[in-house]
Symmetry: C2
Subunit: 283 residues, 2 copies
Amino acid sequence: MIAMSLLRGRSIPADYIVSGYWSWKSVPEAQREGPVRVIWNGEASGFNCLPSEGELNYGSDAPYFHYVSNETVEGLQFHRLLGTDGVPRICDMSSDLLCRPVPSHRFALMYAHAQKNLGPSGATVVILREDLVRDMRRDLPAMLDYRLHLEHGSIYNTPPVFPIYVILLVTRWLRSEIGGLEKMCEINCRKAERLYSVLDSSGGFYAGRAAARDRSWMNVAFNIHDRKLESLFLSDAETLGFRGLEGHRTIGGLRASLYNAITPEAVDALCSFMKDFQARHAE
Amino acid sequence: MIAMSLLRGRSIPADYIVSGYWSWKSVPEAQREGPVRVIWNGEASGFNCLPSEGELNYGSDAPYFHYVSNETVEGLQFHRLLGTDGVPRICDMSSDLLCRPVPSHRFALMYAHAQKNLGPSGATVVILREDLVRDMRRDLPAMLDYRLHLEHGSIYNTPPVFPIYVILLVTRWLRSEIGGLEKMCEINCRKAERLYSVLDSSGGFYAGRAAARDRSWMNVAFNIHDRKLESLFLSDAETLGFRGLEGHRTIGGLRASLYNAITPEAVDALCSFMKDFQARHAE
């Protein structure tokens, strides 16, 4: 919808960062609609790090700049704001919206599907700056036209009521139980630090995939040095009730996702299991 | 998606019937993509009846023929199969799928959003004949490409799991509690007959909108002869726990929806209230 609205019929390319599986998938979809300039691509280095600011050469007249704030597959997360204020900043925050405060006024458009930190699958949250719609095409199919949804207060069609209701409950929980996004941010940061410290203090038994400064708080992707132990790790974990620790099917390995709903206690339990597993299997 | 897939770039028009509010809305959306021939339009007569077979002149080489089996706003429902077997038959069954058996093998594509007879809003069921995708365009955005969803077993993306799960429960209920679609059909027919008989035996106090042969089993749209009584009717009904009896905002009046979830007992209660209301207010 973004490329249809803002790139179709344009001659100046939109800027995209390809930092992992999800941003890699966004480029061909945008290219159907108009020209795309990939200003950084981590594919050659196996998506194990993110660009530093000096590596990025933003176009000053691009129709927009697009990036993915957290790459779930590779466990990479930007811990700074990207882009320039002169170009509409568009960010896919599907896997980290509400994990921490964001300077929302500096984004032209943020979007995130619900099924990570927000609620159940079946809804996508889009937060856009109203003036952005001025530059959008006016000939799109109704359901794909942001303007129409905006004009109708997001109920042009019957919305997915149940997922939206759960998102309401989750945001209330964030405010009243957790104490807001800054508190959530602290909790998430602490959860991630604990788990990464198990990797870092394992003497090489475990190895994180991502460069240390680009590590995701949401998805900790790692390997066991002796890869043959990974399936045993998964089955032992399963026995103890830890589920979904296999890496994304495209890259394998192991991955622990630490979304908002994962408690610090659950992370502590995983850390204990991992240390114990290492003690039993280290040579 | 239908017009994008099957009409974009074609020179021979697709055939559409405009039988009410929803089919009327489908035409401009299709016209964005290619030529449309409206083979029947009930707008001039206020959408109070449906075409007889003799009024319809189907194109023999149309890329497809599209109609809406039940018009919720006007309370009109086709009680026969439309179209010819030589042209792909496409039907929007959003408001009556699962209200009765349909000869599904004679449709190229049927679609229905969930929020009438199937389950909660947030999912759309599409049943298509696999050979139809052969004729579909191959350059559509991934999420709008039926072929891709078919190839990925309907889980190319994370689907709306909760609405789909509820649809599963509803279909199980239809089988095991109701006894199948033929039984559901009998129940729905009986519910509708009871309510229409209240209109027909009211001596003109109540008047149904739709021509008798085209009456919908799902949506009974009617008026009170003395229109001034309609707001009183609604508030009296509300007091007794009958909700949602106002007509669609585009045409006003009154409307009782009798979807699968409405029990015969609820219809009986509404009939009693309506007779009672008439007794109190007939001149």
